[in-house]
């Protein structure tokens, strides 16, 4: 029996007190101003306790990570994709791979319910569900030579569940790309500054690609420095362009941007990786890590005051303008990345397990990175909650709800209880040198306004417009990279599926097949993008819930695989570790899809919406927000597609969970029938610490391991 020493007890009591103080202030404050510092305290205090106690319990009691067992990186070391990587480097790698636009967009949209529901879900969700999922998937994939989630589903659950998981992953990829592209269109439309700087990233990336391929192969650090320098120059130049006679050429309507984006996605995805994708990836990774670090610093230095209500009336009424539906279940699907994100399971099974040095490090890499991502989501929520709530709603409500003039918008938003004058709305747009901020839905512009507010507090108000466009550029940069990379992954899946029908497709470098599958993937996400831009009811309003449902569906697949593996590997007693998050995730996702399909509220239910508009068409009437009969038909078509899609996604969840349950029950009844495809034990020959800071024993071990003569 180990007894804790006094210092440890004192430290952890203090940490608990800091967290508890944060939570108390957030929960009890009504009507008075609350500093963002309390939100940061609640988050950091809870993360520390979750990491120190819960993740340690899971790693050592449940998974029984074994420091003497060689990982795939050690056993299969080929010097390229399998190689033992220093834990601090891998933490950076893994974090850069999981954190993207997701944790920045979801919390901003969920702020329409107030900051409290989002905060509770982000923090509790990550500790008990999201980080657990990432760590357990990473562990099981490490025990299976870095198998992907799809392969694990097929091997451990069966071909049926495996196929459902594969279709789900493909559908999610398409919806994800459509929604991310929509976020970009809403941020760049009618903004010459933003459009110019983003357009410039293409020649910059081409230059970097050429440099790396021809001039100095492999010198990534220096070329990234050059790239980031040019990027900042493009950002500054954006202002000159916006003020010059060229402004017209870069002031694009949303539908024009759609065409450009789809064309970009298609061309980029059939070009060689070295030309655009690889250099863009370096740029966006640099920008991502840099901006997140800056934002964390900005929040801590400026410690802004939260202006949003803790809980708004939209939470219970369910008629919010940003997305329809009440707090349960919609907050939990709107905030996916940052709390529980199915997408991470694709990273945790794949690249990272092939590089991890020690099984004991799954705690730091899997659980730790996810806590870091969660803190990014908290910062996004802070950024959305410190701007004037009136401005927040004017920016995030679709044009169909608030109109297109500041007078109209001011009147509608004030009617919701958040007073803001037309002059204030106009001034807010002028501050960031944009023509208008009305209905800039999708989260990115709102986040950018919040970020510019925080940064300009530190650097002085004159740089406000620069910081706004800096934030837009930073989001657009990695969303564009995601469009390219995601199209390639979607194409890869499609080639694999079509290869079963027509053999040549399996050969991924067969040019006609490559071009055709790329075109299909771009057409699919391009369809959702086009629909989102032309949706009279508001594209984000309609599509974001489907995106949330699909992301949480992937989480359900990952958690089902984990739970099945826990049961099959004789850890039934601990199956609740991922079992409870699975039940919660399935409840939330299925409730949300049920409501989206069957709700009798036309704002929420797709089919009700369809019938309301169809009836009006039959009567020859035009219902607002539609402006013409064409709009009416658009609404009917879109609602039907969205409704069917939601129903199919829900069905896939049920199939995967039912199949996993069948395997678990069979294992409990007749364990002899189950097979476990775990790689056999090989003793590890390397020593490496488990956590960020080596313990005293680990240091002594490392010292003893070094040969005295020196090798």
């Amino acid at each position: 029996m180990r007894t804790a020493n006094v210092r440890t007890i004192v430290i952890w009591t203090l940490v608990a007190l800091v967290g508890a103080a944060g939570w108390s202030v957030l929960a009890l404050a009504r009507g008075e101003d609350v500093s963002a510092a309390w939100m940061v305290a609640a988050a950091l205090g809870s993360y520390a306790i979750g990491y120190r106690f819960y993740s340690k319990f899971i790693a050592y009691k449940v998974l029984k990570v074994d420091a003497t067992r060689a990982t795939p990186a050690e056993r299969l070391n080929n010097g390229i994709d399998f190689h033992p990587t220093d834990r601090r480097v891998l933490l950076g790698h893994h974090f850069a791979a999981i954190a993207g636009a997701g944790p920045l967009v979801g919390p901003v949209l969920a702020a329409q319910m107030g900051y409290l529901p989002g905060t509770v879900w982000i923090i509790a969700g990550v500790i008990f569900a999201g980080a657990v999922q990432d760590m357990v998937v990473l562990f099981f994939s490490t025990r299976r030579d870095g198998r992907s989630l799809g392969q694990m589903a097929r091997e451990e659950i069966g071909p049926f569940g495996g196929a459902a998981a594969l279709i789900a992953a493909f559908a999610i990829m398409i919806i994800l790309l459509g929604v991310l592209a929509l976020v970009i269109v809403n941020a760049l439309a009618a903004s010459p500054w933003g459009t110019f700087s983003i357009a410039m990233t293409i020649p910059i990336a081409l230059l970097m690609g050429f440099y790396l391929r021809v001039l100095r192969p492999g010198r990534v650090a220096e070329v990234s420095l050059i790239g980031v320098g040019l990027l900042l120059l493009a950002l500054v130049a954006g202002r000159w362009v916006a003020e010059s006679s060229w402004a017209g050429a870069f002031t694009l309507a949303p539908s024009t941007l759609v065409v450009w984006l789809v064309a970009y996605g298609f061309i980029a995805s059939i070009l060689p990786v070295w030309m655009l994708l690889a250099p863009r990836d370096y740029l966006s990774t640099f920008m991502k890590i840099g901006t997140i670090a800056l934002l964390a610093l900005g929040v801590v230095i400026a410690l802004p005051t939260l202006k949003m209500d803790p809980v708004t009336d939209f939470a219970s009424r369910g008629d919010g303008p940003v997305f329809a539906g009440s707090l349960f279940p919609f907050v939990f699907i709107t905030i996916a990345c940052g709390a529980l994100s199915g997408f991470h399971s694709l990273i945790s099974s794949g690249t990272t397990p092939k590089m991890i040095q020690k099984e004991t490090q799954v705690r730091m890499i899997g659980y730790g990175s996810m806590l870091m991502e969660s803190s990014v989501a908290i910062m996004a929520l802070v950024a959305a909650s410190i701007i004037d709530p009136g401005l927040y709603f004017a920016m995030n409500a679709p044009a169909g709800a608030i109109g297109t003039t500041v007078e109209n918008a001011s009147q509608v938003v004030t009617g919701w209880g958040y007073s803001i004058s037309p002059a204030e709305l106009a001034q807010a747009a002028k501050n960031v040198e944009e023509a208008t901020l009305l209905s800039r839905t999708g989260g990115a512009p709102t986040l950018a306004v919040g970020v510019s507010e925080i940064f300009s507090k530190v650097t002085g108000g004159s740089l406000r417009a620069f910081w706004y466009h800096f934030a837009i550029m930073f989001e657009a940069l990695f969303i564009l990279t995601a469009l390219d990379a995601g199209t390639r992954v979607g194409r890869f899946m499609l080639q694999d599926m079509l290869g079963n029908v027509y053999r040549p497709f399996k050969n991924i470098s067969w040019k006609p097949g490559l071009v055709l599958t790329s075109a299909i993937v771009c057409a699919l996400w391009g369809y959702f993008l086009w629909v989102g831009v032309h949706e009279p009811l508001g594209g984000i309003n309609q599509l974001f819930p489907i995106f949330g449902i699909s992301n949480q569906l992937l989480a359900a697949v990952a958690l089902a695989v984990c739970t099945t593996l826990l049961v099959k590997s004789g850890r039934l007693k601990w199956a609740w570790i991922t079992g409870i998050p699975l039940v919660w995730d399935a409840t939330v996702t299925l409730t949300a899809s049920y409501q989206k399909v069957f709700s009798s509220d036309p704002k929420v239910g797709f089919f009700k919406q369809r019938s309301v508009f169809q009836d009006a068409i039959d009567d020859g009437k035009v219902l607002p927000p539609a402006k013409s009969m064409d709009d009416m038909h658009t609404v009917v078509t879109n609602s039907t597609v969205d409704g069917v899609l939601t129903a199919v996604l829900a069905l896939l969840i049920v199939v995967v969970i039912a199949d996993a349950l069948r395997v678990c029950v069979r294992h409990l009844r007749r364990p002899a029938l189950s097979t476990l495809s775990e790689a056999p034990y090989v003793e590890s020959k390397i020593q490496a610490p488990a956590g960020l800071v080596p313990t005293r024993e680990e240091r002594e071990e490392a010292r003893d391991a070094v040969a005295p003569t020196g090798v």
Binding site: G79, I80, D81, A97, R213, I347
Partner: protein, 65 residues
């Protein structure tokens, strides 16, 4: 002065590792140690092989939303 140099070296090491600039050196060390008879590719050839592998399986370097 010495500690400053140590910090600089540590930062340089981390950046090289994180960006995978050190991939070539690592590969050469690997080939030399495990397959001493095998020829070592030039840096140019090695980097080309690496991007071709990525082309072959785009899931390798996929990042999340």
């Amino acid at each position: 002065m010495r500690s400053l140099r140590r910090v600089f070296r540590a930062v340089r090491w981390y950046v090289r590792e994180l960006t995978d600039e050190s991939a070539y050196d690592r590969y050469v060390a690997h080939v030399r140690q495990d397959h001493p008879q095998a020829p070592v590719p030039t840096r140019r050839a090695f980097e080309r092989m690496r991007t071709e592998r990525q082309e072959g399986d785009p899931r390798q370097d996929f990042r999340c939303c």
